[in-house]
C-alpha cells in the first residue's frame, strides 16, 4: 500500500505522498476482498476487483479499527503527512465497532481512510470500514483493508466475530506458552546470589523467582504441587510492564522457557500478557486439563 513517496532531491512545497509497498504485500497476503454475501450486498474490495477471499471473521481479525462512517470529502485527507489523492477520503466516524481501548474515541470526528489502489469514494456514502490505524496525527490515518455497506446485521456479525476472535486469541496465547497454570503464588525470592558476573547494564532484569502452587494446568505437561518461574523485578523501561507477582496472588500464568545468562533455561514470565486478565482467566477454564 502506497501512502506517499519522498522526493529524493531537495525540498518540496507539497507534503510527500505516502507509500507503503510492504503493506501492499501484507494486504495481498491477507486478501483485499471480503467473501460472500451473507450480510447482503458483497462488500467492496478497496479499489480492486475480483472474487472475495476473506471471511468477515478474518477481516475483523486483520483490522484493528472497524467503524461505520460517512464519506464527507472524497479525494481529501486531514493529516499533514498524507497527500490527498483518489485513494484517500475524509470519513466521519459514526460508530466504532472495533478499536483498541488505547485509541481515543473518534465518534463524530473525521478520519482519513486510505485505499491501496484508486477506488470509489462517493460523497455521502455510508459504509462500514475495516482497516488498521497506521498514523496518529491531527487525526487518524486508517489503511483500508475492506469495506461493506452499512447495516445492523453487519454490526451484529462484527460483534460475533470479535467474540470468536477473543477465544481464538486466548487459545493461541495458551498454546504459545510452554506452561499455562492456574494457581497461587506461594513465595518469592531474589536470585541475585544464583547469578555471577551479571553485566552492568541499566536493563538488568533483577530476576526473582516465584513459587507457583498448581491448581490446574491449561497448557503443557501435567503438573502437581508447585512450579518455579522467574520474573524481572526491574522497573527499567524494558522490564517495567512485566508482571510482578507477590505471595498470595492468584490467577492464570503463562510460563515460557527462557535462557538466563549464567543460569540456563528457566520458566519465566516476561510480558504483561503472561498473566491473564480476569476475563481471560474465566474464559480459559474450558481448557483445564483433566
Amino acid at each position: 500500500m502506497s501512502w506517499s513517496s519522498v522526493s529524493p532531491s531537495g525540498p518540496r512545497r507539497r507534503p510527500p505522498v505516502l507509500r507503503a509497498a510492504v503493506y501492499l504485500a501484507a494486504v495481498t497476503l491477507i486478501g483485499s476482498f471480503i467473501t460472500g454475501s451473507a450480510w447482503g450486498a458483497p462488500p467492496q474490495a478497496p479499489g480492486a476487483a475480483g472474487p472475495a477471499s476473506l471471511s468477515l471473521k478474518e477481516l475483523t481479525r486483520s483490522s484493528d479499527y472497524v467503524f461505520r462512517g460517512t464519506v464527507v470529502k472524497p479525494g481529501a485527507a486531514n493529516l499533514e503527512v498524507v497527500e490527498p489523492s483518489a485513494r484517500t477520503a475524509v470519513v466521519r466516524v459514526e460508530e466504532v465497532l472495533k478499536a483498541s481501548p488505547t485509541i481515543d474515541d473518534f465518534t463524530g470526528r473525521d478520519v482519513t481512510v486510505i485505499l491501496d489502489a484508486p477506488g470509489a469514494f462517493n460523497l455521502g456514502e455510508r459504509q462500514v470500514f475495516f482497516g488498521t490505524v497506521g498514523l496518529a496525527g491531527e487525526s487518524l490515518g486508517i489503511l483500508a483493508l475492506g469495506r461493506a455497506p452499512d447495516g445492523e446485521r453487519l454490526k451484529v456479525r462484527v460483534a460475533r466475530a470479535q467474540a470468536q476472535l477473543f477465544e481464538d486469541a486466548l487459545k493461541a496465547k495458551l498454546e504459545a506458552a510452554d506452561l499455562a497454570i492456574d494457581g497461587r503464588i506461594l513465595s518469592t525470592r531474589s536470585t541475585y546470589a544464583d547469578l555471577k558476573d551479571r553485566p552492568l547494564t541499566e536493563h538488568d532484569p533483577f530476576w526473582w523467582e516465584a513459587q507457583l502452587e498448581v491448581k490446574a494446568v491449561l497448557q503443557g505437561q501435567t503438573l502437581q504441587g508447585k512450579v518455579p518461574f522467574w520474573y524481572p523485578t526491574s522497573i527499567d523501561a524494558m522490564w517495567a510492564p512485566a508482571p510482578k507477582p507477590a505471595p498470595g496472588n492468584e490467577g492464570v500464568w503463562l510460563l515460557h522457557r527462557f535462557e538466563v545468562e549464567g543460569r540456563g533455561f528457566v520458566y519465566a514470565v516476561l510480558n504483561p500478557g503472561d498473566q491473564l486478565t480476569a476475563a481471560e482467566a474465566q474464559a480459559a477454564q474450558k481448557w483445564v486439563k483433566p
Partner: protein, 492 residues
C-alpha cells in the same frame, strides 16, 4: 499620580531590563513543540529518553523517538514520530519492528543526502538484542528493514552521513557489546554503504585497555565528512568487580578513514601508555545506581551521559561532555571540554561545569557555534516536592569561553510519579543542520506556560488557562505525564 512618580525609577529600570533581555535574544528564534499528536490526546505514557533525526537534505523532514508504545495495542511494531513541516505538527507512525509494541533503547539518524533514515534499537520484547534498521520513506507504512541483529548488546547509538564524493551512506552504531572478549566491550558497528540491499558490517572494538569487566553503557560516535570518525566511551577501570561509583576514564578514539583503517580507531593514542584512545580525564567517579532517586528528581544514575560533537568546518575541533560525582558522591556534575588538535590535547579545565544535572548533549553548527543541552535538577538537598527539572540550551560563539543560556522547560520534579525508569531519559539530543540547532527533550506535560519560558505549542488537547489536558473530544481530563518536546533554534 503620586504612585507613578514614586515608581518611575523602578519602571524605567524594568523597561531597561526588558529591553536588554529582548536585545540579547533578538534574532534567536526558539520553537518548542509538544510532539504528542492530537489523535493521541488521551495518552499518559511516560515518553522518556528521546532522540531526534533531521534530514539534512530536507530539514522539513524530521523523525523523533522515545519510549513510546504502539497506540493501537499491536505488538509487532513500535512508533516513531514524524513531521514533514519542520516540526510544526507531528504524527506517530508504527514502523519500528518490535515484539511487544515498544522498543528498548532507540536512536535515529538520517543519511546526509540519501533521505534514508537509520535506527539503532534494542528490539522490544527481546532484551539486549540490537537491531540496526533502515527506512527509505519514513512517513510511509512500510516497516523498517532489518539490516543487522546481534544479541547481548546495550545502548545502540546511531550516526550516519553521506560521503560527498561517493554518494553512499556510512553508518556507525556505538554499542556496549557484552559478548566482546576480555571485558573490552566498547564497540562501534559500522557499514561503508548503508543503502545497498544487504550492507556488510564490522564490529570495531574501540577499547584497548583492561577494564573492571566491561566498559560503560554509552559509546557515542561522531562523523566528519572528511572521513574523520571519533567515538567517546567510559572505560571502567580495573580491578574487576565494577562497583559503583566506578573509577572511569573518559576516552576518545579516532579513525581518519571512515573507520576502515587498519587497525580501526587507532589514530589517537595516549602518551601514558601509547595505546589507542586518548584519555581525556582519568579516574573520575561515575555512579551506577539503577533505581529512581528521590534526591534527583526521580531519575537514575546509569553512567549513560557522554556526548561528543565535531565542528563540521574543522575536523580537528571536537567538544566532549561527561558526567560524574567529582568527590565520589552527589551532586552529579556535567563537564564540557574542547580539543583543537584532533583529540591530542584538551582544554585544561572545564569550559562549562553544571552541578546536579544530567543528559548532556553537544552539537556544532556550520558557523562553529556550539550548543550544549542538559537537564538540571534544582533544589539539591531538598525534598522531591521542592525540586524542579529544567532543560537548558547554552550556546557559544567563542569556542566555549562565554555562553548564553536559554531555558526551554522548567517543570516540577515530583509530578507525574515515575512509572518506570528512566524518568526523563538516559539521554536527550541536539544536532545542527546548517546554522540551525534542532533537538528533543522529555519533560512533564502540564500545560502551564510558565513551565516553558520560550513558549510552547501543543497538538494534544490542552487548556493553558485551567492547566489541564483533555481527550480528543475535550470531555475528559487526562492526567499529566512525560512527553517528548521538539525544539529548534535559529538565528544568533
Amino acid at each position: 499620580m503620586n504612585v507613578i512618580r514614586r515608581d518611575r525609577p523602578l519602571l524605567l529600570l524594568a523597561l531597561l531590563v526588558a529591553a536588554l533581555l529582548a536585545a540579547s535574544r533578538a534574532g534567536a528564534q526558539v520553537t518548542v513543540v509538544n510532539m504528542i499528536p492530537n489523535a493521541q490526546s488521551s495518552e499518559t505514557r511516560q515518553d522518556s529518553e528521546p532522540n531526534l533525526a533531521v534530514n539534512p537534505a530536507n530539514p522539513q523532514q524530521i523523525a523523533g523517538s522515545a519510549f513510546t508504545v504502539n497506540y493501537t495495542g499491536a505488538t509487532t511494531t513500535a512508533p516513531i514520530f514524524v513531521t514533514t513541516n519542520g516540526g510544526t505538527t507531528w504524527t506517530a507512525n508504527n514502523i519500528v519492528p518490535s515484539g511487544n509494541g515498544s522498543t528498548g533503547d532507540i536512536t535515529l539518524r538520517f543519511g546526509g543526502t540519501s533521505n534514508v533514515l537509520y535506527a539503532g534499537t534494542l528490539r522490544g520484547g527481546s532484551g539486549l538484542t540490537l537491531n540496526i534498521l533502515r527506512s527509505t520513506n519514513f512517513t510511509a507504512a512500510t516497516v523498517m528493514t532489518l539490516l543487522r541483529s546481534r544479541t547481548n548488546v546495550d545502548q545502540p547509538y546511531v550516526q550516519a552521513a553521506t560521503v560527498p564524493s561517493l554518494g553512499v551512506d556510512r553508518v556507525y552504531v556505538g554499542n556496549n557489546d557484552f559478548g566482546a572478549a576480555s571485558g573490552r566491550t566498547a564497540t562501534v558497528d559500522r557499514t561503508l554503504n548503508g543503502t545497498v540491499a544487504t550492507p556488510s558490517w564490522v564490529s570495531a572494538r574501540i577499547e584497548r585497555r583492561t577494564t573492571c569487566g566491561q566498559d560503560g553503557p554509552p559509546i557515542r560516535p561522531a562523523i566528519h565528512l572528511d572521513g574523520t570518525i571519533y567515538a567517546i566511551s567510559y572505560r571502567y577501570r580495573p580491578p574487576s568487580g565494577c562497583v559503583t561509583p566506578l573509577a572511569s576514564d573518559v576516552v576518545v578514539v579516532r579513525d581518519d578513514a571512515w573507520a576502515s583503517s587498519a587497525p580501526r580507531f587507532a589514530a589517537l593514542t595516549d602518551p601514558s601508555d601509547g595505546l589507542a584512545g586518548r584519555i581525556v580525564v582519568s579516574n573520575v567517579k561515575v555512579p551506577f545506581i539503577n533505581s529512581s532517586q528521590s534526591t534527583f528528581g526521580q531519575e537514575r544514575f546509569v553512567s549513560s551521559n557522554l556526548s561528543i560533537a565535531v565542528d563540521p568546518a574543522n575536523s580537528s575541533r571536537i567538544y566532549v561532555a561527561w558526567a560524574d560525582f567529582p568527590t565520589g558522591v552527589a551532586p552529579y556534575t556535567l563537564h564540557v571540554r574542547r580539543s583543537d588538535d584532533r583529540g591530542v590535547t584538551w582544554s585544561g579545565s572545564d569550559l562549562l561545569t553544571i552541578v546536579n544535572a544530567t543528559n548532556p548533549a553537544l552539537a556544532v553548527n556550520s558557523a562553529g557555534k556550539v550548543a550544549f543541552v542538559y537537564q538540571i535538577n534544582t533544589g539539591f538537598g531538598q525534598p522531591l516536592a521542592n525540586q524542579r527539572w529544567q532543560t537548558h540550551v547554552r550556546r557559544s560563539t567563542d569556542l566555549g569561553v562565554t555562553w548564553n543560556d536559554l531555558t526551554l522547560s522548567d517543570t516540577p520534579a515530583n509530578t507525574p510519579t515515575a512509572t518506570f525508569i528512566p524518568y526523563l531519559g538516559d539521554y536527550v539530543h541536539v544536532m545542527a543542520v546548517g546554522q540551525d540547532f534542532y533537538g528533543i527533550f522529555s519533560a512533564a506535560n502540564t500545560p502551564n506556560l510558565a513551565n516553558f519560558p520560550q513558549g510552547v505549542s501543543y497538538q494534544r488537547n490542552a487548556n493553558f488557562t485551567t492547566q489541564q489536558l483533555f481527550n480528543v473530544a475535550g470531555t475528559v481530563v487526562i492526567a499529566p505525564s512525560i512527553d517528548p518536546f521538539f525544539f529548534k533554534i535559529t538565528g544568533p
